[in-house]
């Protein structure tokens, strides 16, 4: 028997489902707390670890964490036994899913038709300028995130913004600093 097999035995590396070693590593280490991993695993399990349920799983996990960072997608892919590229493909396809964390006070500007024609874009610009944050992103202190949506059913109040659960209507750009001040 060739001794090489014995040599490779030295290279045997401990393997646990979630504690794998990797020799040549280009990717950033995936780091996640055990608690979070368990939450994800439980959600996957509640859908029978079926890859066909990935959208439902993503929906629930985003419900728990507010967003779907890369490492969360890695765990989901592992649990559902599907390529992480496919999971990312789905996350990047549906605008509902986000890889950006939501702020403590998520700001959503309505860009529905009624709001849009009544100047929602200027309001959006004012929020972005005032918070110095891009649309879809979160401020570095984690307090505010800025997003857009289509219609909250309050067209009579156009243009409309929501901060958390609270609705602000008949907005003008000059009202924006005052509104933000309420949350500081």
């Amino acid at each position: 028997m060739c001794q090489c097999a014995d040599a490779s035995a030295d290279l045997r590396l401990a393997r646990g489902a979630l504690a794998r070693t990797r020799i040549e590593k280009n990717m950033a280490n995936i780091k996640l707390s055990e608690e979070k991993v368990n939450i994800i695993k439980d959600i996957c399990k509640s859908f029978g670890n079926q890859s066909g349920e990935v959208i439902n799983v993503l929906h629930q996990v985003q419900g728990k964490f507010g967003y779907l960072p890369a490492e969360v997608q890695e765990v989901i892919a592992h649990e559902l036994n599907m390529p992480v590229a496919k999971v990312y493909g789905i996350v990047s396809f549906y605008s509902f899913f986000t890889m950006e964390p939501k702020g403590e006070h998520p700001i959503d500007i309505c860009l529905g038709t009624a709001c849009y024609v009544r100047g929602a874009e200027k309001v959006l610009d004012a929020f972005a300028r005032e918070l110095n944050v891009q649309v879809g992103k979160c401020t570095p202190d984690g307090k505010f995130s800025l997003n857009t949506l289509r219609c909250v059913g309050a067209c009579g109040l156009a243009p409309v913004a929501m901060i958390g659960e609270k609705v602000y209507g008949r907005l003008t750009p000059d009202m924006v600093p005052g509104i933000i001040a309420e949350y500081k």
């Binding site: 028997m1 060739c2 001794q3 090489c4 097999a5 040599a7 490779s8 035995a9 290279l11 045997r12 590396l13 393997r15 979630l18 504690a19 794998r20 070693t21 990797r22 020799i23 040549e24 590593k25 280009n26 990717m27 280490n29 995936i30 780091k31 996640l32 707390s33 055990e34 991993v37 890369a70 490492e71 997608q73 890695e74 765990v75 592992h78 599907m82 390529p83 992480v84 590229a85 496919k86 999971v87 990312y88 493909g89 990047s92 396809f93 549906y94 605008s95």
Partner: protein
């Protein structure tokens, strides 16, 4: 049977046939772009996305995609009505409006399906202007990605996921920014890509191409301080002729050797020689493991072959718990490099650093394999450059050498002589068959009643057989496509219920003959079949057909290595594997 008319021609086809296939049966060639099929090899890409195959069906309001519409009784199909033609041209014009159109410099020029289609449809100007997709180019050591050229046919994605189950590529984003990319749009080299290159083999355009090493090799050939030796893989000799207008399945071994000599290689050797060497090492290793198993010792079985570098990368990334199962034998490319630089160079009085070893391979993964740190000495690689069959053809053409005009010449010695067992390494089942020929005779001490093992041949994705080893039932399996290999690996992980002793895996369709470095087959699986026939023809025509009877192999063991799996061969001809799976760190 369903009766219909296509372009007023009555056609009768079985139920469930698509309009596209029905038309092809009737001799009407509806153009396609995203549609791709490898007949009989369990591969079909049918997203119905490109809309190039749109046809008019009488009574239907909208045009129908021929690739994704089944025939119906009484259907009247017009494949080239003014409406269908207009739609087809518009689709092409729109596609070209978001395409770089740099055909003169494009690696794919001449082999590009979009280019041929634009020519066929007589597209002379593109009436649409607007934003164009722009992505950063990306490259591994094997695959070059230029996604500005992607037409989103998603053939690569299907190959990567369905055929190989590598899971590196997926369609991401939606609308205009849609692109095929690895997870999180990271670099391909950071993904689960195994560099099999099959995405390149099926890409209709120049979005996915190979990493071209021609200039590096030309530089080495023109450097008087270097001794440049070349090795050629078994599958190259049955495909290279296609690039020079020959029919698929022509064997051009002698002309290829002559061509390489004209290019200026100092020595023209054969990877087939080291394939015979591989069989000696791998066969001995298998027998060693079997003997231990029979003696009741704990030993890892089944043993897997380790010749295919995409397969090696695949199990290192996906099955890190099974790293002790594959044979530790280097691939024939690796063994040749080790023999050339450790045995031949001193014999020729050439310093290791002054010898350049070039390999001609049907493969893209070999370009990545040769860069593995353990396959060299102090940073000097055993194999310096690997060229594909296509690159060799380009190089010959660049240097005004027409393969058709060349005489048949022999390989140089001592690393040039080979047996029939070596040449069949190029086809699925071939490594298994070659190993069986030698292992049987070494184990039993008897001569094989027949050399051919029909059980291991053919295009079935997974082949299983029990071989009578003089009373011992040796259970074997042969797989191509890594999705098939994954099935076998999962079985092994679950305790090997079928009791396999030896499993051969090759990543590509039909084995190396369908490799990503071979001339583009454009989905014509008949080309791969004819290459396979040629491989077995070459084997049958060889005077010696068993690796252990190769006189040069016998001689090198006597002169240099001692015995198979001995100390020196262990050092030079065997390797080890690494866990390259993704790491998930769990913090408290």
């Amino acid at each position: 049977m369903i009766n219909l008319t296509i372009d007023n021609k009555p056609v009768q086809v079985p139920e469930g046939t698509t309009i596209l296939k029905a038309a092809r049966m009737a001799g009407i060639d509806i153009p396609t772009l995203c549609y791709f099929e490898l007949d009989g090899m369990n591969f079909e890409n049918k997203p119905g996305g490109c809309r190039v195959c749109m046809v008019e069906v009488k009574g239907r309001r909208n045009l129908a995609p021929a690739c994704a519409t089944d025939v119906m009784e009484g259907m009247e199909v017009l494949t080239a009505s003014p409406r269908a033609l207009n739609a087809r041209k518009t689709v092409l014009e729109l596609m070209l409006s978001d395409h770089p159109n740099d055909c003169l410099q494009c690696e794919k020029s001449g082999d590009c399906e979009l280019q041929s289609l634009a020519a066929r449809m007589g597209i002379r100007k593109i009436p649409y202007t607007g934003e164009q997709s722009h992505y950063e180019n990306d490259s591994t050591l094997s695959v070059y990605r230029e996604m500005d050229k992607c037409i989103y046919c998603r053939r690569c994605e299907t190959m990567c996921n369905k055929f190989q189950s590598a899971g590196a590529l997926s369609g991401v984003n939606r609308g205009f920014p849609s692109v095929v990319a690895p997870a999180f749009q990271q670099k391909l080299g950071d993904s689960s890509c195994i560099n099999c290159g099959q995405c390149v083999q099926v890409c209709p355009v120049g979005a996915l191409t190979l990493v071209d090493n021609i200039q590096n090799v030309l530089n080495a050939l023109n450097d008087p301080s270097k001794t440049v030796v070349v090795q050629t893989a078994p599958a190259v000799r049955v495909a290279l002729g296609e690039e020079f207008g020959m029919e698929p399945g022509q064997i051009v071994t002698g002309k290829m050797a002559a061509g390489l000599r004209r290019l200026g290689f100092d020595k023209v050797f054969d990877t087939d020689w080291s394939a015979d060497l591989t069989i000696m090492e791998e066969g001995t290793e298998l027998l060693g493991r079997l003997k231990k198993a029979l003696a009741g010792e704990e030993v890892k079985l089944p043993m897997f072959t380790s010749c295919c570098p995409a397969w090696v990368a695949f199990y290192e990334k996906n099955f890190p718990d099974l790293l002790e199962y594959p044979s530790t034998a280097k691939s024939p490319q690796g063994m040749f490099g080790a023999a050339a630089k450790n045995f031949l160079a001193p014999k020729m009085g050439v310093k290791r650093e002054d010898m350049v070893v070039v390999s001609i391979m049907p493969c893209l993964a070999k370009k990545s394999e040769l860069a593995r740190e353990e396959l060299g000495v102090n940073g000097n690689r055993d194999v310096d450059f690997s060229l594909t069959t296509r690159e060799l053809a380009h190089m010959l053409k660049q240097c005004n050498i027409d393969l058709n005009q060349l005489p048949e010449e022999d390989f140089d010695n001592p690393l040039g002589q080979s047996t029939g067992a070596a040449v069949i390494f190029g086809a699925t089942g071939g490594v298994m068959e070659a190993a069986l020929r030698t292992a049987y005779e070494v184990h039993t001490g008897k001569t094989l009643p027949r050399v051919d093992f029909e059980e291991t041949r053919g295009f079935q994705g997974i082949k299983e057989a029990t071989i009578d080893f003089d009373g011992f039932p040796l259970k074997i399996a042969v797989a191509y496509s890594l999705a098939n290999a994954r099935k076998l690996m999962n079985e092994v992980r679950e305790g090997n219920p079928n009791g396999y002793h030896f499993i051969e895996v090759m990543a590509c369709p039909g084995g190396c003959i369908g490799g990503a470095g071979q001339p583009y087959h454009h989905g014509k699986s008949d080309i791969i079949r004819r290459r396979m026939e040629a491989i077995y023809r070459e084997d049958a025509g060889k005077p010696i057909r068993k690796s252990h009877e190769n006189p040069d192999i016998i001689a090198i063991y006597k002169e240099y290595y001692g015995e198979p799996c001995g100390h020196l061969s262990h050092e030079q001809l065997h390797t080890h594997y690494f866990d390259r799976s993704d790491k998930l760190e769990v913090t408290k």
